[in-house]
Amino acid sequence: MILSNTNQPILEIRSLSHIYGEGTPFRHVALDNVNLKLYQGELVGLIGHTGSGKSTLIQHFNGLLRPTSGQVLLRGEDIFATKTATRNARFAVGLVMQYPEYQLFEDTVRKDIAFGPKNKGITGVELERVILEACDAVNLPRRLLDSSPFELSGGEKRRAAIAGIIAMEPDLLILDEPTAGLDPKGREEILETITAYRKNTGKTVLFVSHSMDTVANVCNRILVMNRSHIAMDASPAEVFSRTEELRNMGLALPDLTDIFVYMQNRGLPISDPVYTMDYAVRKLAELISSEKEHYAE
């Protein structure tokens, strides 16, 4: 399900390649001719093996990395055309890096969240508004705003760091493994934050994840990266029906899908891929009731 496909994409990547360490023995092609379009309101999951080029790709979205060749277009405009365009891209594309809590540096959480919006030029009442909204968006108790970021718990630090990006009010929110290194409860909270944020703001969100389960439950579009290419770009249903391909890329299926594939192979009469709990319950309920009818006859 790709939303508003007819509109202009918010972000478009055109034949993008990136090569690290050109001219040294460490030369490495991280991205090879990647094409991609992101539309308003999508919730996209980006998955792939370690070293498949995910982090490199997303660092092009806001102009942190310059492509070796190819273009990054933000609402049709090349973000590397002028310095101003690159700077605007920084604020229009909010990028939450891996382990963002290590970037906290101010003496209070409030000041730290204010860092991004201040750089964008937001001041006064408006600044206070975006700080409070961001704080609420990530579900961080407002009383923590005046404490030191170094006193927070791991999950709170992570959410404070994400708030620092959301406060810039970007059109596109990109998160690189936002749940890495958190306990199950922390993971759950972050995912809820992300889905709620997208629902409330209608903005595009893309997040990188290792976990198929996470992606399966949350996203409406999945990008699979393999060896510097985008290998799949489709709905979860389609991606998870390509079981063999995924396995060959060294990616695991969501646990639920795995179980259903196993049962399907043993004759369970459900043909489509099953990747969310709701769908599994519905399908099984249908199956049980039809069996009952069968026996009733």
Partner: protein
């Protein structure tokens, strides 16, 4: 990766220069530096340059890498050269207002320039062809006579190898933090000196926090594996000198000594 800092970057290749025993290489580099300071006339400078050029060619390090290590020093080289041109007394060639350019000045400036280039090129060749770990091992070996005077050579070497080990890690970390702050619109490139210095705070604070965290982790990991410094520690890859290493060592010592003698006679 921060590719613009090349000084101290190991460039792995398979060459005779890479294979030479690190202790000998370190010793010869120091000897080379001494030789450069003794070089005086055209002949000795020419020979030093020739030797260095030959070794660079043998090392298979691309010449562009050597140039890259010289690039940050252009200003220093120019600065010393210009000072020498104006401040050396001798036969004036041109003079205007309070400035005088002397023949001797130009010669000294030229020599100083060449000297700095040779020194930097020579020492960066050492770090290009020797892995940091080998280098610390070599330093430890060369410093070991100091143990007699109760200098904690082992500990110093361990500190050095930890420092070297963490330079790339911290550089990567710095790059990550910089990227993260750039993603929040931080600007490190423009503005006055003071505002640029202020812009470093968002990098330095997280960097120090993480350096201390890493130090803690490392100390814990070393403790839990019962690390104790001292004499009885053995190495995974002990440095072993082969016959050809000795041949190279003696050969180089003779060549360098010859150049020093030439330099003493002002040739």
């Amino acid at each position: 990766m921060q590719n613009n800092i090349t000084l101290g970057q190991y460039f792995p290749m398979n060459s005779p220069v890479h294979r030479l025993d690190a202790r000998f290489k370190l010793f010869l580099t120091i000897f080379f530096i001494v030789t450069v300071f003794f070089a005086d006339g055209l002949l000795s400078y020419g020979l030093v340059t020739l030797v260095l050029g030959g070794v660079i060619a043998m090392s298979k390090i691309p010449f562009s890498m050597i140039l890259k290590s010289l690039k940050p020093l252009i200003i220093i080289i120019l600065f010393t050269a210009i000072l020498n041109i104006f401040y050396t007394k001798g036969t004036p060639l041109v003079s205007f207002w309070i400035f005088k350019i002397t023949y001797e000045g130009i010669v000294v400036a030229f020599k100083m320039g060449i000297r700095i280039i040779l020194l930097v090129a020579g020492s960066s060749l050492l770090t290009y062809t020797t892995s940091p770990i080998m280098l610390t091992d070599a330093m430890e070996a060369l410093l070991s006579p100091l143990k007699v005077f109760k200098v904690p050579v082992n500990e110093l070497a361990m500190m050095m190898s930890i420092a070297l080990r963490f330079i790339p890690t911290l550089m990567e970390e710095t790059q990550k933090i910089m990227n993260a702050q750039k993603a929040r619109g931080a600007d490190f490139e423009t503005g006055s000196l003071i505002s640029r210095a202020k812009a470093l705070v968002p990098i330095l604070v997280p960097l120090f926090v993480s350096a201390f965290r890493r130090a803690d982790d490392l100390a814990m990991a070393m403790e839990s594996r019962c690390y104790t410094g001292g004499d009885n520690r053995t190495r995974l890859k002990p440095l072993v000198a082969t016959g050809s290493d000795f041949v190279i060592l003696v050969g180089c010592i003779l060549v360098f000594s010859g150049i020093i003698v030439l330099g003493c006679f002002g040739l």
